[in-house]
């Protein structure tokens, strides 16, 4: 019983987001002209999974009280690279997938190395490395195009598993179960949380805070790489699109916040961010079924973002002494 209460208090943000998502998705399906068909669910899942993976990536640096502004560009780089190497025989394709994941892992590791050992601020580091990753994406894909192994692409993004489950959801589930949960339960994961919640105390208690930060940025790169792969499987092509990268960076932060992770670090988790991403995507879908003028949609999405990041300021109502604000 105590454990349940603990769990509820711990994941209040994520559970709220889940309820919000369920309500919004129900409205979406009810008003969608085609109703609840596998196509509607599959399309919604595909769009949501991309953002969910990038949001998972963004969660880790935010948990350490940092931020990764290069995450969208890592995503774009992985997309460009995948459109060049994930091709040919099954063995070649598998090698290509490994190559893409390795490359994005390296991007994240570079961020981590600069932040930890270079002792530079995450914002300026990732702003600059984002520029590098985008340049590399342009080297691989000077103009949009490329190709991908279509059998694998259809299997992972199109053909419903058992006739009902969109395969992209299973990829997301596998990422959560096989990568995120083990990471969270490991000492590395503990160090990630500790680095964000009380760096000094964690250091004094013998936790390897530097390792925690390094792990956070490295795994962020990996998650963004998986997202880039999935994008390639959905579009059968690669494009070095700076605007796309920027939008994903921004939306990932919004998703993390909606999913209940604290922007000050130390509290929250990637599962909340996944739910946050689906909430964020469903808002866009709702605008579509309710026929909102396409002209007004970017503003509306921007306002949702701004309001959701401002929701955290509700905590100010509980503060009695203004000095508590200055941490």
């Amino acid at each position: 019983m105590n454990r349940l209460r603990y769990f509820l208090a711990h994941s209040r943000g994520a559970l709220l987001a889940l309820a919000l998502f369920a309500a919004m998705f129900a409205v979406y399906v009810a008003y969608h002209p085609a109703g609840l068909t596998i196509d509607v669910v599959s399309t919604a899942a595909n769009k949501g999974v991309l953002l969910a993976l990038v949001a998972m990536a963004q969660t880790l640096p935010i948990l350490t009280a940092g931020l990764d502004l290069s995450i969208g560009m890592t995503f774009v780089l992985a997309n460009s690279l995948a459109s060049a190497v994930v091709l040919g025989s099954p063995a070649e394709t598998a090698l290509g997938v490994v190559l893409v994941l390795l490359a994005s892992l390296l991007c994240g590791a570079l961020n981590g190395l600069i932040v930890v050992f270079g002792r530079l601020q995450p914002i300026i580091t990732t702003l600059a490395t984002g520029s590098i990753y985008f340049g590399l994406a342009l080297v691989i894909r000077p103009s949009p195009g490329g190709d991908v192994n279509e059998d694998l692409a259809d299997a992972l993004t199109y053909d419903p598993v058992l006739g009902v489950v969109p395969p992209s959801l299973l990829v997301l589930l596998a990422t959560v179960v096989l990568v995120w949960l083990p990471l969270r339960r490991s000492t590395w994961g503990r160090a990630v949380y500790a680095a964000g919640s009380a760096e000094g105390a964690a250091y004094m208690s013998g936790l390897n805070v530097d390792l925690g930060k390094f792990v956070a940025y490295t795994f962020a790169g990996l998650f963004a790489g998986i997202a880039g792969l999935m994008l390639t499987f959905m579009t059968y092509a690669g494009e070095a699109n700076a605007a796309l990268g920027g939008a994903y960076t921004l939306n990932s932060i919004a998703s993390v916040v909606i999913g209940g992770t604290s922007l000050f670090g130390g509290a929250g988790g990637a599962i909340g961010s996944v739910i946050g991403a689906f909430v964020f995507r469903t808002i866009g879908d709702l605008l579509f079924v309710f026929d909102m003028d396409a002209l007004y949609q970017p503003l509306f999405i921007g306002l949702v973002l701004l309001v959701s990041v401002s929701l955290g300021s509700l905590r100010l109502l509980r503060i009695r002494n203004r000095l508590e604000l200055f941490r």
Binding site: R119, S131, L138, L295, G302, L306
Partner: protein
């Protein structure tokens, strides 16, 4: 000799390093092409650098607080779009009011940024990123339906691309903005409070500084500076265009930080920002003019790819040289 030492003693090491990098870039560029050191070319660089300089002036104030403004791209673009649109909507009065309205718009958006940071206490990088997205949405609406006027007024062109007695007007604007910022930082209580806030917000608050007003003021000035640059850039390029502000976000922050302003606030000099702006401008210029050998061109098919990579790498490299934080524990 002692006078020289006194002057240099007051200049930080990062500022000296930044100026040394400027000299190195000039020498390196002149090895590549002799026209690199010609007065015409250098003046042209200063004219272009002035846009960055005006933006960086505002960015510096925000960074001195220990905050950051990521809304620069769309504050700049929206100010340019609104001022050209005003010139179209209001006829003759609009032509006169175009620039003031653009600047007021920028300052107002900056004040909203400041409100979010000072009163709502949302981390500045996140709140300004959100404001950036909202502005982009607003501009989609403004320019999406019946497109308003987007070409610059004569006054904007005069500011952006004109020159008197051989000196570009944009450079004069930067000089005026720079002088004002130096005056504010060195000679006013507001300037002192900025440094105090950057060193310790709690201490500044307890000493009676109106910390919220300082934050809102700095962000408003930063918004006004971005807007001024936007208006001038519209004049320079003859029209306001989508995404015209995107190439200025990283350079403006990099210029300030490479100029020795401490990214967590509290330390920095305007001289350093000038050095940083010139440094970034020269770097961009060199990356533009250098012709690649054919074997390289096959790899870097899109010319901006190499520029982006070198640019990011150089900024990281320079920051690692002298922008590192102290190792801090406990």
């Amino acid at each position: 000799m002692s006078a020289v030492l006194r002057v240099f003693g007051r200049i930080d090491r990062p500022v000296l390093l930044a100026f040394a990098c400027v000299v190195a870039l000039l020498l390196g560029g002149s090895l590549y092409t002799s026209s690199f050191l010609s007065p015409d070319y250098l003046l042209k660089q200063l004219q272009l650098g002035a846009f960055l300089g005006v933006i960086a002036s505002g960015v510096m104030l925000v960074i001195l607080l220990g905050h950051i403004d990521l809304s620069i791209p769309w504050v700049l673009t929206s100010a340019a779009m609104i001022s050209t649109a005003v010139a179209g909507w209001w006829g003759d009065a609009g032509t006169l009011l175009a620039i003031p309205v653009g600047l007021l718009w920028g300052a107002a958006i900056g004040a909203i940024n400041g409100f979010g940071v000072a009163f709502l206490r949302v981390p500045s990088m996140i709140f300004t990123l959100g404001v950036n997205a909202v502005l982009q949405g607003l501009m989609v609406i403004l320019t999406g339906g019946a497109a308003p006027q987007d070409y610059a007024t004569d006054a904007m062109r005069w500011l952006g691309s004109g020159a008197s007695l051989g000196v570009p007007h944009s450079l004069m604007v930067w000089a005026v903005v720079g002088a004002l910022i130096v005056f504010v930082l060195k000679r006013t209580g507001f300037g002192r409070s900025i440094f105090a806030f950057g060193n310790s917000e709690a201490a500044a608050y307890l000493s009676g500084v109106n910390t919220r007003a300082v934050v809102v003021g700095c962000f408003a000035i930063a918004g006004g500076c971005s807007a001024l640059a936007g208006v001038m850039l519209a004049g320079y390029g003859t029209k306001a265009a989508q995404a015209m502000g995107d190439p200025y976000l990283l350079p403006s922050i990099a210029a300030v930080v490479l100029g020795g302003t401490y990214i967590l606030g509290g330390r920095g000099s305007y001289l350093g920002t000038i050095a940083g702006v010139i440094l970034i401008t020269l770097l961009q210029s060199i990356l533009r003019i250098v012709q690649l050998p054919d074997s390289w061109r096959a790899i870097f098919e899109a010319p901006e790819s190499l520029r982006e990579i070198v640019y990011g790498a150089v900024i990281i490299g320079m920051m690692l040289l002298y922008g590192r934080q102290q190792a801090k524990r406990g």
